[in-house]
Structure formats: structure tokens, C-alpha cells
């Protein structure tokens, strides 16, 4: 039970894919023109993440190490296809606005990252919750960006007009259109990441560490998805060197 809570917390707060790990930036920037699109994209990814983590964890002792990446991709692609058909069949409007980004979930680095760094090494139940935590963290990030962009760019939240628009002669909100266009995604993402860092720094100063930037500091290399981390690579290099000896 403890492990489950820890995994959820890790995905949503400690290693939030959008604000901390900076993974999956392509859909993050492209589809968050509205809160609904962000939520839809996040939840689709969550479903794929949970299912692929589940299956990969089940098969982790069967998949040969050398062909693990193609094997992961086949599993992920199957679930993405299922999700794509379901969205197309039941929420056609969301399918129309997400477009190519649903099939592109296959190459979303969060999914392959979690498969590689967590699900392929850990038992089934923690893997499911790892996928759920990461997926919800991603959904949270996308929805937050979507909400900010929708308010500033259209005066709406989830399609409902919250700021009355200015009409001829009537005072009201004039939408700042740039926020629903591509540059706005960069502005909002940067501002939110900066805000998260401020909150983190403030908490650190008070002595309440919300979370270290990555799992490195706790020595938790197993669950860490930062492939380029120097500490991890040196560990790997050491083990390789030992094998060669």
C-alpha cells in the first residue's frame, strides 16, 4: 500500500513529467490550446501508460533484453491503436481536435521511459500505479497549461465563457489571441515551470523539501527516467566494466 501511494506521489508531484522531467514536450506544446484538449490528451496517454506498464511488467521476465525496445513499442502501439479507435468512435470532437497527436502517443517518451526504467524491472501492481501516477501527472500538467491558455486566449474554461468578451461599446475582456497560437504554449509552459521552481525553492528554504529534482538524491536510480544522468551512467559503466573483467 505504501508503495502504491509513493508511486502516485512520485508521478504527480515529485517527478511530474511536464514540470519536472520535461518529457513529452511535443504534445504538451501542440494540443493544449484548450483545457478540454489538454485533459483529453492527458487521459488518453494515461490509459496507454497504465495498460502498457501492466503488460510489460507481466512480460518482464520473458522479453529478451536485446529486443526489449521493439517489444515495448509493439505493446505500446497496440494500446495506442485501441485508444485511437475508442476516441474516434465515442468522442469524435476530441478526435478531430487532437488529430495526429493521438497516434503520436506511441513515440511519447514518457511511455517508453516508464517501460524501460520502471515497468520492466518491477512487479505488476507498483507498475500499474507508476503508470497511473505518471499519467495523472501528465494530465495535470496539460490541463493546467490548457486552462491558462484558454482563459488568456479566449476567456473560457472548458468551453464555458468565464470572462465576458468586449463587444462594440460594451466593456469586457479582449482575448489575447497569441495564447491559443503556438508561441503562447511556450510562454505558458515556461511561466508555469518557473512558478513550480519558485514554490520548490520556497519550500526548500523552509526546510520542507517537497522533492528533489530527480530520484538521484535518494539513491533511487531504479525509478529514475533521466537516461543522461551522470551518476546513473557511471553506475552502468562500472557494471559493464566489471562484466568485462
Amino acid at each position: 500500500m505504501n508503495k502504491i501511494v509513493e508511486r502516485l506521489q512520485n508521478g504527480i508531484i515529485k517527478e511530474n513529467p511536464t514540470f519536472v522531467l520535461m518529457l513529452g514536450m511535443c504534445p504538451t506544446l501542440a494540443v493544449t490550446t484548450s483545457a478540454m484538449n489538454g485533459l483529453g490528451m492527458g487521459l488518453s496517454t494515461t490509459v496507454v501508460l497504465v495498460m502498457s506498464n501492466l503488460l510489460i511488467s507481466l512480460l518482464r521476465n520473458i522479453i529478451p533484453d536485446r529486443v526489449r525496445v521493439p517489444a515495448f513499442i509493439v505493446i505500446v502501439a497496440s494500446f495506442v491503436t485501441i485508444v485511437q479507435f475508442l476516441v474516434q468512435g465515442f468522442i469524435p470532437s476530441l478526435y478531430a481536435s487532437l488529430g495526429i497527436y493521438i497516434p503520436l502517443i506511441v513515440v511519447n517518451c514518457i511511455i517508453l521511459g516508464r517501460a524501460e526504467s520502471y515497468a520492466s524491472k518491477n512487479p505488476v501492481v507498483p507498475s500499474i500505479f507508476d503508470g497511473l501516477g505518471m499519467g495523472l501527472g501528465f494530465t495535470l500538467g496539460l490541463t493546467l497549461i490548457g486552462i491558462v491558455r484558454e482563459i488568456l486566449g479566449a476567456g473560457q474554461i472548458f468551453g464555458a465563457q468565464v470572462l465576458p468578451l468586449a463587444d462594440a461599446g460594451k466593456a469586457g475582456y479582449t482575448p489575447i489571441t497569441i495564447f491559443v497560437l503556438a508561441p503562447g504554449a511556450f510562454f505558458v509552459l515556461a511561466a508555469l515551470v518557473a512558478l513550480m521552481n519558485v514554490i520548490r525553492a520556497k519550500a526548500d528554504a523552509k526546510g520542507k523539501t517537497i522533492a528533489p529534482a530527480t530520484g538521484c538524491f535518494a539513491g533511487d536510480c531504479e525509478s529514475c527516467s533521466m537516461g543522461s544522468c551522470s551518476g546513473k551512467s557511471s553506475v552502468k559503466a562500472d557494471s559493464v566494466a566489471k562484466e568485462e573483467e
Binding site: 489575447i176 489571441t177 497569441i178 495564447f179
Partner: protein, 314 residues
């Protein structure tokens, strides 16, 4: 530091010009265009200029306060940014949009990248494009003499006849500072005489653009069309006052000419083949992004250094 006795190793800087003086000269040279803009569009233009400058200076002051940096509003660069931005806005723009533009120019384009000298694109133009994309309606509605009318460039694009004499004087619709070519040229002469800018960037920019219009404008050797293209829109303002910004233009002599040629071609493409009648601001900020590359390939060879054969040795 004492100006009299200052023992250092060479090279020695003998000039007493500093950022503040350069910026003050730029402001003085922009005054003719600003005064004409106020005469042309009335007191609303004056209010907009003051609001934009105020917004830029206040943004810089507040930002530096918050992040505990040295206060730099005395170098007048924020005033120049504000004035340039205001000259690039139609006088009918709501004041709060101008304020937003000033905040964007100073905080997003300049301060977040490290302040004056570190900004990768011209802050005033960055803000103009931000406003143009965000508030297309109010940024492209121009009124002159109480009636909403098209700018000379838009008329030209629609194939109508324009009065080039009026465009030289500046009694046409447009943004506050761009209409009067004569006022802008007076300012440009001041800048050149005081050595603040040289003619490489504006010269190669305007020349390239003229050649481009002659070749691809579709009007052959029509002097009226050519002069109207040269005097219309923000070309003069952009070429003399914004493309020459020290921070965002190349420092190598050859690079300046390359930069001007690139701007001329881009402006021509945007104006003649693009959907919009104007393209100077996009051309310049696009050129700003190419500056590091241009500088890299145009570094002058030091005297006495022999160029190595082939590209093998580094």
C-alpha cells in the same frame, strides 16, 4: 575611476561615449518623427507615446527591483524601446494594449534573457509582433482625419494609385511614427553624422529591397510604384532605427551588409508574395535570429594571418 590618470594595458578606450549618450542621441533623432506623428494624429498619439515609454521604464524598474539587480533605467534604453514601440503602433490602439506591449518588450524579450546586450531580438519589434498577433483588429485599423482608411501600402497591394508626395511628407494613415519619410530621414542624418550608425545596414537593406521590388514587384520599372514601396510602411523606420540596433545586428562590417541583404529579401518576399501588405517587422526579427550565424561566417581575417588551405585543420 579617474579620467586623468588611468594606467592599464592596451587597447585603450579613449571615447567618452557611453550607453546613456548613445541612447539619448537615438531619442533626439526620433523626435522629428514623433513630433510629426503627434501633429498628424493629434493628442492621442502623444498620450500613447507617453504611456508606452512609461510602461517600458516601469517594467524595467519593477523587474530589477524584484530580482535584486542593479537599476539600469538611467541608461535610457527602456525609453528608446518604449518610443520605438509607440512609433510602431496605430494611434487608435487602446492604452492597455500599449502597456501590455511595453511589459512584453522589456520583461519577456529583454530582461528574461539578461537585460540590455543579451536580448536576441529587438524588444520593440518583438512586442509589435506580439501585439499584431494578439490584437490583429486594433493593430491594423488605421484612421486618418477621422475616417478609417487603408494605409498606402494596403492600397498599393490592392492595385490602386497612391500619392507619393503625401507619403514623403507623411500625411497618410499608418502607425504614429512611420508615415513621414522626411522626418525619419532627418533623424537618420543626425544618427549618421554623430557616428551612432553607419550606412551599411540601412543602405544594403533599402538597396536590396528596391532591386527585389524591381525584379519581382510585377510593375516593371514603374518609378511611382517603387518610390511608394520604399516610402510606405515601416521600411524607413525599420531600416534606420531598428535594424541598426547594436545588440541585435552583426558587429562585423561584412556581416552588416549580409544582414541588410537578408532583410531586404525577406521584406520583399513578405510584402509582395505574403498575404499582408507589410512585412518589415517580421523581416527584422527574423533577421535578428540569424545574427549569430552571420557573425560566425563573416569574422574578418586579422592582419598578417594567412588563410589555411582546405578546411581540414581547425
Amino acid at each position: 575611476m579617474s579620467d586623468l590618470l588611468n594606467v592599464t594595458s592596451s587597447p585603450h578606450v579613449r571615447d567618452k561615449v557611453d550607453t546613456q549618450k548613445v541612447m539619448a542621441l537615438v531619442i533626439i533623432s526620433l523626435l522629428p518623427a514623433s513630433i510629426f506623428g503627434i501633429y498628424n494624429f493629434g493628442v492621442k498619439a502623444l498620450v500613447l507615446i507617453l504611456v508606452t515609454i512609461g510602461s517600458c521604464v516601469a517594467s524595467e524598474w519593477i523587474y530589477e527591483r524584484i530580482v535584486h539587480k542593479k537599476n539600469t533605467i538611467n541608461d535610457l534604453s527602456a525609453v528608446v524601446t518604449g518610443l520605438l514601440l509607440a512609433l510602431n503602433l496605430p494611434h487608435t490602439l487602446p492604452w492597455w494594449q500599449a502597456v501590455l506591449g511595453g511589459v512584453f518588450a522589456i520583461i519577456v524579450v529583454k530582461m528574461l534573457f539578461g537585460g540590455l546586450g543579451q536580448n536576441f531580438m529587438n524588444p520593440a519589434l518583438g512586442a509589435r509582433c506580439f501585439l499584431l498577433i494578439s490584437f490583429t483588429g486594433s493593430m491594423t485599423s488605421f484612421t486618418y482625419d477621422g475616417t478609417t482608411g487603408a494605409t498606402p501600402l494596403a492600397l498599393l497591394k490592392a492595385g490602386e494609385h497612391v500619392d507619393t508626395m503625401k507619403m514623403l511628407l507623411g500625411t497618410t494613415a499608418g502607425t504614429i511614427g512611420e508615415t513621414s519619410v522626411i522626418a525619419l530621414l532627418i533623424g537618420a542624418i543626425i544618427l549618421i553624422l554623430f557616428g551612432v550608425i553607419d550606412l551599411r545596414i540601412p543602405g544594403s537593406y533599402i538597396l536590396t529591397f528596391a532591386v527585389f521590388v524591381l525584379l519581382f514587384g510585377g510593375h516593371g520599372f514603374d518609378m511611382n510604384y517603387l518610390v511608394a514601396q520604399l516610402c510606405g510602411g515601416g521600411l524607413m523606420l525599420g531600416a534606420f532605427f531598428m535594424a541598426t540596433d547594436y545588440v541585435t545586428s552583426p558587429i562585423t562590417p561584412m556581416g552588416k551588409i549580409v544582414f541588410g541583404i537578408i532583410l531586404g529579401i525577406l521584406t520583399g518576399i513578405f510584402r509582395i508574395f505574403g498575404a499582408s501588405a507589410e512585412g518589415v517587422s517580421y523581416a527584422i526579427i527574423f533577421g535578428n535570429l540569424l545574427v549569430p550565424l552571420i557573425e560566425r561566417v563573416t569574422i574578418p581575417r586579422a592582419f598578417g594571418i594567412v588563410k589555411e588551405k582546405g578546411g581540414e585543420k581547425q
